[in-house]
Amino acid sequence: MSRRLGRRGEPRMSTWLLHAYPSAWRERYGAELASLIEADSEDGRVSMRVKLDVIGAGLTQRLRSSGLTGDEVPPERRIRAGVLLVLSAWAAFVVVGLVFAKTAEHWQAVTPKPDRGVPAAAYDGVLLAAELGTLAVLLGIVLTARPLIAFLRAGGWERVHLAVLRAFGSTGLTLAALTGVVAWAHHLTNAQRNGGDGLYSAAFLVVVLGGVLSIGLWTHAAIVTARQLPLTPGSLRRETILAAATTVTMAVMTVGSTIWWTSVHDSAPAFFGGGTLPVRMLAMTLVMSAATALAAAGTFRSARALHA
């Protein structure tokens, strides 16, 4: 598709809007849709109604093309889409899990001994579910080892190398930054490390964001690769079972962590800063609930396609 230019030489809005669609769809329908948007716009200006309509339709098409909605793509692609949605939700859980682990440090020290029973059981439940979930995800990765080798031998590296190198690059930069921040931390006091030094806090935040970005990029690389692996119906069935198991562990972690922080908050509100509601914990629960809901939707999608 040729790159269309507007009156001032910048790419036209119609061309820009097409990026909401998957590339294969753009190849087939892009020129027609761009022509229609231009014909439908007054004085070359695309109205907000049309912009929202095209972006919404583009995102819907992305969901359909990926196999997450609709029944146009074969069941095999719908199963993969569901399993990969669970993997994406798990990646969000990894990030939230790090926040939980950091927040929960030394909680026993501030909670009165008679009140520790419920939060301790919830905390242990979260840890156990996290271990089982990690095991299920790792097993899912191991099951794709042979197809992955076959894919790479057949020249698959060319099709995934950009996504993998991007993830490697982000991880390398984050580790380098982390090394610098850790070395810097050795020269600071405890108070400076915990918010007293603005520059250090900013550097720490950059490292955290780098870590989140790296997890996101690795998940993206895994999705790009897994979409192209030659998986048998048996492998897809096993991946669906593991995805369902992972979803269960996510639900357990969401419930367990909520019980943990509400019971600790009841006994020792000062642990969360002393406010009526610990905002960070509420946000964490919201993200966990949303990720669990997404994982459940992915599992349901895969299981339904498995019986299609």
Binding site: A31, E32, S35, L36, V54, G56, T60, G70, E72
Partner: protein, 99 residues
């Protein structure tokens, strides 16, 4: 397929002959009073083409006309028959209620 669904409106429009995207928008607006967005229109065109109910013709520059296929005509006929049945049933019930 419901009477106000974009695929139904597109099949109605194409029943009178092939049309490209902009002609479809104008035609649908004239007979149904509905102004479809370009994204909505092409989302429906994609699904109809995938189901073999419409097919593309040779493009003229960036405008590509579409026409209804035999399968599309058959499917549209069935949908219209369903709609006729509903209209008949609804009308007779309304008459019975007001009598």
């Amino acid at each position: 397929m419901r009477a106000t669904d974009p695929p139904f409106l597109i099949l109605t429009s194409l029943s009178s002959g092939p049309k490209h995207g902009h002609a479809l928008l104008l035609d649908i607006e004239s007979f149904a009073g509905v102004r479809l967005g370009p994204g909505t229109l092409y989302g429906a065109i994609t699904r109809l083409e995938q189901r073999g109910l419409i097919e593309p013709l040779e493009a003229a520059e960036r405008r590509r006309p579409y026409r209804i296929t035999a399968a599309g005509s058959e499917s549209f006929g069935i949908a219209l028959a369903d709609l006729r049945r509903l209209v008949k049933e609804g009308t007779s019930r309304l008459r019975a209620a007001s009598a």
